[in-house]
């Protein structure tokens, strides 16, 4: 049984002129445990919405998202929050670190709503991403690449089964992007987490053994 299973997933939005705009229409998709898949998608292909639906941030209009044997799309919001906190790590293109918190506190926040705070593990994650000497730095005091590494550590903080990465290298230069991607893949393997990454960057996609085209996967994007 796959870790993530998607069936007939649909999501539409109402545009300002009142029309219905379907953003995601995915008949089927699956991701196994420890598997790493890259989704290629251009801007407007619905990749962020797709990831939000998987994470339970958005509720689908139709279809099912089953994560670790639980149908996420059928759960009430509070249980979706709980499932997300305990099973999913999220890496954003803009990192989304909280600026008023130190690097360590950002990672601890990744634990707070999930399996509980574990200082030792948070520190070990930051050491693993090469930020042992930046624990008490504010994200503002870090380079873009370093901020991305904090975001990676935070995504792994709740020992997730699945890491979702939305254009994680989009804000990085070439060298940092390659380094960061390798780090994400390695740390996901080390922590037994599956990885679903979306990107439009060919170099990033070329690093993956399994790449799926969102245009083929998402009927809404193909139109």
């Amino acid at each position: 049984m796959p870790l993530l299973e998607i069936t007939d997933l649909r999501k539409s939005f109402i545009t300002p002129d009142g029309a219905t705009h379907t953003v995601v229409d995915v008949p089927t998709f699956a991701l196994g445990e420890h598997e790493q898949i890259a989704l290629s998608g251009e801007s407007g292909s619905g990749k962020t919405t797709f990831l939000h639906l998987i994470a339970g941030i958005l509720r689908p209009d139709a279809g099912r998202v089953t994560l670790a044997g639980r149908e996420m799309s059928a759960l009430p919001e509070s249980e979706r929050d709980r499932l997300r906190a305990t099973h999913i790590g999220y890496i954003f293109q803009t990192f989304n670190l909280l600026q008023g918190y130190t690097c360590l506190e950002n990672v601890l926040l990744g634990m707070k709503f999930g399996r509980g705070v574990d200082h030792a593990f948070a520190i070990s994650l930051l050491k693993r991403v090469g930020l042992a000497d930046k624990l008490n730095h504010s994200p503002r005091q870090l380079s873009t690449g370093q901020q991305q590494r904090v975001a990676v550590a935070r995504a792994l903080a709740n020992r997730p089964q699945l890491v979702l990465a939305d254009e994680p290298t989009g804000n990085l230069d070439h060298a940092n992007a390659r380094e960061s991607l390798a780090l994400i893949r390695e740390t996901c393997r080390e922590n037994s987490a599956a990885l679903l990454l979306v990107s439009h960057d060919r170099e990033v996609l070329a690093q993956f053994e399994q790449v799926r085209d969102l245009k083929q996967l998402n009927r809404a994007a193909a139109q």
Binding site: T48, T49, A55, E105, L108, F113, R154, N158
Partner: protein, 400 residues
């Protein structure tokens, strides 16, 4: 990383608005507590001040004016009464002590009160406590000697052996100096009563001061009366107030003062209303401050939600933050309270001689801060609802 830590972080991030809002809460809390505490304590203390007497006999007048003049040493004397009136009440078997007083002169604004030496040997200005001397002794009847209350001595800088010339009238006018010279023979210990603001001299001294009308030599301003029983008060009340029409018997003293508080009750209500309005505005300032900050915090809220925080957790965090600001303000409010109440107590002591204790127990010191914190928490509900309703996907990252 507890919820309290998250709230503390937020307060630090918005330190300026936190401080400004907490300061307005502090002002409201302090003002509310001070108005209430000074009002209730003044009421209790003033009605408790009797100078060691049960009643005052004086010329026909309002009881309140008589008490203010004879016990609190405020206001004009309502008029004089004849020496035989004193002798008559002194002879009454239900009267334990009758002390004649005469007023009409001052020294740099501090009243000279002419009386007998019984004041120092028989009167208990506080329960079971007679007047005590910090230095010197009582005056001798018939001599130009004076005993100063502690506050008057301190303010006038007079000590035993010093000499002074009294001034005519109750208000200081340097052109009205009397020729007589008085020597200070004693300084009283603080009694925490209006007696501390007075200069006591022999009754004859005031009656016979040069420049006073000749008839004052056989008149006094009032008689302070201590009764043997409360029943005696009723009898004398009937005798002087109902059957007679020449004199006024003010009994009980506390009742006359209660009338004063009844008269100025509207002022208390206005002050309390102002304090409540300030509290309301302060709570509204928490609401406005947090509500406005919600716009800039939408992204932060969305991130926390993406990390798995429930809507209700963030709702609670905002209410907790609001309560925390109110709590900071309420704690700082005690400083404001201390400043206002101490200042008010100092003014009352200087003007009336009655001592208030700003830090004496008063229920308002609990219910006002608790009420302010509760209203602060309630004020956080509207911004908390805004946090509750924050759209995660909308505020997390732009749609692609």
């Amino acid at each position: 990383m507890t919820l309290a830590r998250i709230v503390a972080k937020s307060l630090r991030q918005h330190a300026f608005s936190t401080v400004v809002t907490a300061a307005s809460i502090a002002l409201a809390t302090g003002l509310l507590m001070a108005v209430w505490a000074v009002k209730t304590q003044a009421n209790q203390t003033f009605t408790g001040v009797s100078g060691g007497f049960d009643a005052v006999l004086g010329a026909r007048s309002a009881k309140l004016q008589l008490v203010l003049n004879a016990i609190f040493h405020l206001e004009e004397s309502p008029g004089n009464l004849a020496w035989r009136d004193f002798e008559e009440i002194q002879r009454n078997p239900s009267v334990a002590l009758a002390l004649p007083i005469a007023v009409g002169d001052n020294y740099h604004g501090y009243r000279l009160i002419g009386t007998t030496t019984n004041l120092f040997t028989e009167v208990e200005p506080q329960p079971k406590r007679k007047f005590a001397f910090t230095s010197g002794r009582a005056f001798n009847a018939g001599y130009a000697e004076a005993v100063l209350g502690s506050f008057a001595a301190q303010r006038l800088g007079l000590k035993v052996g010093d000499k002074f010339h009294p001034y005519h009238g109750l208000l200081f006018d340097e052109k009205q100096q009397h020729a007589e010279t008085y020597v200070v023979t004693g300084i009283l210990a603080p009694s925490n009563t209006p007696a501390d603001r007075v200069i006591w001299i022999p009754l004859e001294g005031l009656q016979n001061m040069k420049g006073h009308a000749a008839q004052t030599a056989s008149e006094i301003s009032a008689v302070l009366v201590k009764l043997r029983s409360p029943m005696a008060g009723k009898q004398l009340d009937t005798l002087y107030n109902k059957q007679g029409n020449r004199l006024t018997f003010a009994w009980p003293i506390a009742q006359a003062i209660a009338q004063l508080f009844d008269k100025i009750a509207w002022f208390d209500r206005v002050l309390a209303l102002v304090a409540w309005l300030v509290a309301l505005v302060a709570s509204a300032s928490i609401l406005a401050s947090l509500y406005n900050s919600m716009n800039e915090r939408r992204r932060e809220i969305a991130i926390l939600r993406a990390l798995g925080a429930h809507r209700s957790t963030l709702f609670g965090a905002v209410v907790l933050e609001s309560a925390a600001i109110a709590s900071l303000g309420a704690i700082a409010g005690f400083l404001v309270y201390g400043a206002i109440a101490t200042g008010a107590a100092a003014i009352i002591r200087a003007q009336v001689g009655v001592v208030l204790d700003p830090w004496a127990w008063n229920p308002v010191l609990v219910w006002a801060p608790v009420g302010i914190i509760a209203s602060g928490a309630a004020a956080g509900i509207v911004p908390a609802l805004k946090a509750y309703r924050t759209d995660v996907a909308e505020n997390l990252v732009p749609h692609s």
